[in-house]
Amino acid sequence: MQDLLQNLNEVLYSPYFGVVLSIFMYQVGILISRKIQNPIANPLLIAVILIIAFLKLFDIPMEAFSKGGDLINLFLAPATAALAVPIYKNLQILKANLKPILAGTIVGSFASMAVIFGLCKLFGLDNTLTASLLSKSVTTPIAMGVTEQLGGIVPIGIAAVIFTGITGSIIAPFMVKLFRVEDPVAQGVGIGTCSHAVGTTRAIAMGELQGAMSGIAMGLAGFFTVLWAFLFAAIL
């Protein structure tokens, strides 16, 4: 009996375990988010909480889950590369508003990093935490790359990205009113630059032009954040 249990325990270290658990919990997350229809019910957030709860509840070590996790990680770079396709598909809209979009994403991504850097220094946070937060306004795959490059902690960076995306998408309509942004292009670029993909889903709900703009801005802001990161790497 003891041997049997021991053998079963080893199954947890099979890569299939982490992959199956991730897919199952993600599907549960999608189901819940469809039912609740609120940005807080983010599928990724739900899946991550459920998986952590599951691992803690059954006392399963993180190394067991990581066997499958490493397999999923293999698709992170391809997922980032895929971001180029929607930008290419919206090339006409991008060309028609090239200068405002470029100016907005270049200045906006710098403002984001400068404010974070300033506040981190103000509160006396160490360089590791600062580096983890700096790229939090851009889409997760790019934020991971930048966080790694700056010497931050990738999981904390991802948590900040998810928090920013969810908060941004909730308060987007409020910010539009507060800052009196009437132009749909400006609304879309603003939302995409400050709250990436999660915000973009909200921008799509506000209008087709806002959605397309937000999607384009999200990719461009990510790219410019990578470039600005060189500046912040030098002063960090």
């Binding site: 770079a77 590369a81 180029a84 403002a111 509160f123 800052f179 603003g190 993909a197």
Partner: protein, 131 residues
């Protein structure tokens, strides 16, 4: 194109991206290089959207799924955030507002600037005509 071939194309581009990142004299995320490569190949023509669309649609539709493993490992890093959670949330909030405002205002200002320039050109043309 067959899904196997599409996967091979994307993986190959990612491999080239890593090779370029390895050659570059400064650290640069290889995934972003791969993104630029896909964009340039689409723009210059050797790559068409239909060559890769099944694969990229799958990746884009399920984008969030691929971040589950790195996000789950936050439990191993919680001690870094101990006692600083309120500060971190405050920083996130402030930066969301400032980033949105700065971006949206920059875009609005640029649009107005371009409109003014067009208006000036139009007037100049009208003045030239009337002379």
């Amino acid at each position: 194109m067959k899904i196997m071939m599409q996967l091979a194309i994307i993986f190959f581009i990612c491999l080239v991206g890593e090779a370029i990142a390895a050659i570059l004299p400064f650290p640069f995320p290889s995934s972003v290089i791969s993104m630029l490569l896909v964009f340039c190949f689409l723009l210059w023509g050797p790559l068409k959207v239909y060559h890769i669309h099944k694969q990229t649609d799958f990746l884009l539709d399920n984008m969030a799924f691929f971040f589950i493993p790195p996000a789950v490992s936050i439990v191993e890093n919680l001690h870094y955030m101990e006692g600083k959670l309120a500060i971190l949330i405050f920083i996130c909030f402030v930066s969301i507002f400032t980033t949105f405002a700065v971006t949206a205002w920059t875009v609005t200002a640029m649009i107005k600037l371009e409109e003014k320039r067009k208006e000036r050109k139009r007037r100049a043309r009208l003045a030239a005509k009337s002379q």
